[in-house]
Amino acid sequence: MSAVDTHHDEHHAPPASSIKRWLFTTNHKDLGTLYLWFALIMFFIGGAMALIIRLELFQPGLQFVDPSFFNQMTTMHALIMIFGAVMPAFVGLANWMVPMMIGAPDMALPRMNNWSFWIMPAAIGLLLSTLFMESGGPAGGWTMYPPLVLQGGDSFAFFIFSVHFMGISSIMGSINIVATILNMRAPGMTLLKMPLFVWTWLITAFLLIAVIPVLAGAVTMLLTDRFFGTSFFNAAGGGDPVLYQHIFWFFGHPEVYILILPAFGVISEIIPTFARKRLFGYASMVYATASIAFLSFIVWAHHMFTVGMPLAGELFFMFSTMMIAVPTGVKVFNWIATMWRGAMTFETPMLFALGFVVMFTIGGFSGLMLAITPADIQYHDSYFVVAHFHYVLVPGAIYSLMAAAYYWLPKWTGHMYDEKLGQWHFWLSTIFVNLLFFPMHFVGLAGMPRRIPDYNLQFADMNALASVGAFGFGFTQILFVYIIVKAVRGGEKATDQVWDGADGLEWTVPSPAPYHTFDTPPDVK
């Protein structure tokens, strides 16, 4: 390496047009930017897949795609959105914001940071390449249940390795975040002074380090069952297909919280700013986050109530799942109490944050319904489940990402975004997202199964509505890209403080944030 200097000799970024800058960068802001753009591109690719699904489901009968391709779309839509869009977007936010929030000069392990990012395009490329193979892409659902998934064509091995590949990125990225938070805080930045976004990411990264290897183990067993004659998931050899589901969901349930805890962090930053009050119940927020993380390890089999578990298992997982409502409720009440008697204004980040609180809670309540074992036996694998997890992920996780983008864009670019267009973006998104997902509750309760390209005539009206909502929501996001590009290219100059109610170290540095911040650690009172 050419750079052997302990002090920064170049305080300015290399030109943005230089490819080398982006390929070789170790700068947390550069890598954060790369993660965020990558996630946005994946959001559109995964979104295009969702639109293919909704196009086919606009009417009953088979119109546009054959069922096998439909199955590939449901599988790939989930994988791309989870591993390609939401997770990298939150890692991008962590890269940009965590060092600035704790007063660190960069991430703890800057070279590994570069590796964690650049693995992502390669891994997703490997995954997407399966769509162009003769056998088509994976079509057994993102949960990869055997024996179905083992019957896939040549794409199977590529698909499994792409999961390993993305896992390597996630583990390295999370180790880096944990090391940064635990080792790089400015003097005086004690753990209980950290912004909540930092706290939620610390706990999320811990979850990732613990469960991604379990997923790696599960898919490795799939691989050996298919290619090396092992019997992990084969009852004839003493294994059990249900064993896969246990291992997968031991990963999968904490994964759900990996997708939502950083969102809680973002919302906990934004609401105090626009309510112009300190966050209500800071310590209880931290403990609630930790409780959710702990509970996430002992609830996994609520995804499997219909596989035939012993009664004791069904009961245990029902009650443990319901307990999650307690810390989650603490959070929602704290957000509301923060707003209580606050001097509120409703700029775009706040609108998305409020949308999050309302609509995430809708998804949370339908989750509570699903937690009830006897009820779940009816709801299982229906569109009600689809409605539930899309409410927590789209107007939940994705809304928090949009809120975060609007909230920190002025700090990143030095320009205010177009407030009027931002408001349009929020209202159009919110109308369409509800048109898209709310009807799914009804068709689900009426018995429409998920992951099927055709349906009974009685579901036709609601599906047509949902499809209209889907296309409306999808095309509204082009407005989001336009607003971002506009803010990157110019616009009203942002002040350093940006939002008058904002609090935290990131608002003490200039806008746009210089290439290197906090080379000498700030004093934290």
């Binding site: 390496m1 590529f158 499994i160 003097p187 019997s231 009852a235 059990d240 080379d519």
Partner: protein
């Protein structure tokens, strides 16, 4: 972090090489599994790129370390990185241990009609009644009759070897803490030799399993868990031995001081981790 100047390298070319290496590796491996003739070549190419990357990347870090670029904070970041990496490895092994416990305590008893499995057995495999390990290759006796690996032959010797290597590794640690580089390397040499003997005996054990016991990877869930657990462990022993070997050579070349020996610590932690996993294996896979 106390007071200023954390070392942040400006540009790094090895990570992107690592990404390319991993990509080629996985494409090659997948092609190999699909029976494409190009597979092995591409896999070898990917492995070669990864090896070059590791030499280059570790080389840079070693030069910076020996050049005094790292202080206490950088060292702490490295230690946390290694510590959390080992934590993730624990969970990787936990998945396979979990599969073993589930199969033995739940799946196989259910298949032979216990608890909620009465109808499953009656409909699917009315003849099957399960005893561990003899019929642990399932109701269809996948892979044919086999004999389980005994706990008190080679595995016991291997246990003693690994425990001894843990001791020599710790003696080496005390040596470097007192600044005795040469002594550290000599004790590491002993550790590496013990690790190598362990691996040789494991190859011997596998040959015995395949040739005399008819115990193979395909021997139902018993063979699956036995070979995947011991195999992944063996792979980790091989990696640990390699790491300690490199630390040993660096010691002979005059690297490390009493204060600055992160590579030693990381390798030693890894070695002890591998040791502990083995104890779990010995108890649950071989003995009970």
């Amino acid at each position: 972090m106390a007071g200023g100047s954390y070392y942040v390298p400006h540009q790094a070319k090895w990570p992107i090489v690592g990404t390319i290496g991993l990509f080629v590796f996985f494409v090659g491996f997948a092609n190999l599994l699909n029976g494409a003739s190009i597979g092995p070549t591409v896999l070898a190419g990917g492995t070669a790129i990864l090896v070059v990357m590791m030499f280059g990347w570790f080389g840079d870090v070693i030069r910076e370390s020996e050049g005094g670029m790292y202080k206490k904070n950088e060292g702490m970041s490295f230690r946390m990185g290694m510590g959390w990496f080992i934590f993730s490895e624990v969970f990787f092994f936990a998945a396979f241990f979990g599969a073993l416990f589930y199969a033995r305590q739940l799946a196989l008893p259910w298949l032979s009609g216990e608890g909620a499995g009465a109808t499953t057995q009656a409909i699917l495999y009315p003849e099957f009644s399960f005893t561990w390990p003899n019929t642990a290759n399932g109701p269809e006796a996948i892979g044919g009759q086999f004999e389980a690996m005994g706990a008190f032959g080679l595995p016991l010797i291997n246990t003693l070897l690994l425990l001894t290597s843990g001791v020599t590794c710790t003696i080496a640690h005390h040596a470097i803490k007192e600044g005795k580089r040469k002594s550290m390397s000599m004790w590491l040499l002993a550790t590496v030799i013990l690790g190598a003997i362990f691996l040789t005996l494991q190859v011997e054990e596998y040959a015995h399993a395949y040739n005399e016991l008819n115990l193979t990877l395909e021997s139902g869930i018993y063979g699956s868990t036995f070979f995947m657990l011991t195999g992944f462990h063996g792979f980790h022993v091989a990696m640990g031995t390699l790491m300690l070997f490199i630390v040993m050579i660096r010691g002979f070349r005059g690297h490390f001081t009493a204060e600055n020996h992160f590579a030693f610590e990381a390798s030693a932690w890894y070695w002890h981790f591998v040791d502990v996993v083995w104890l779990g294996l010995y108890v649950f896979v071989y003995w009970l």
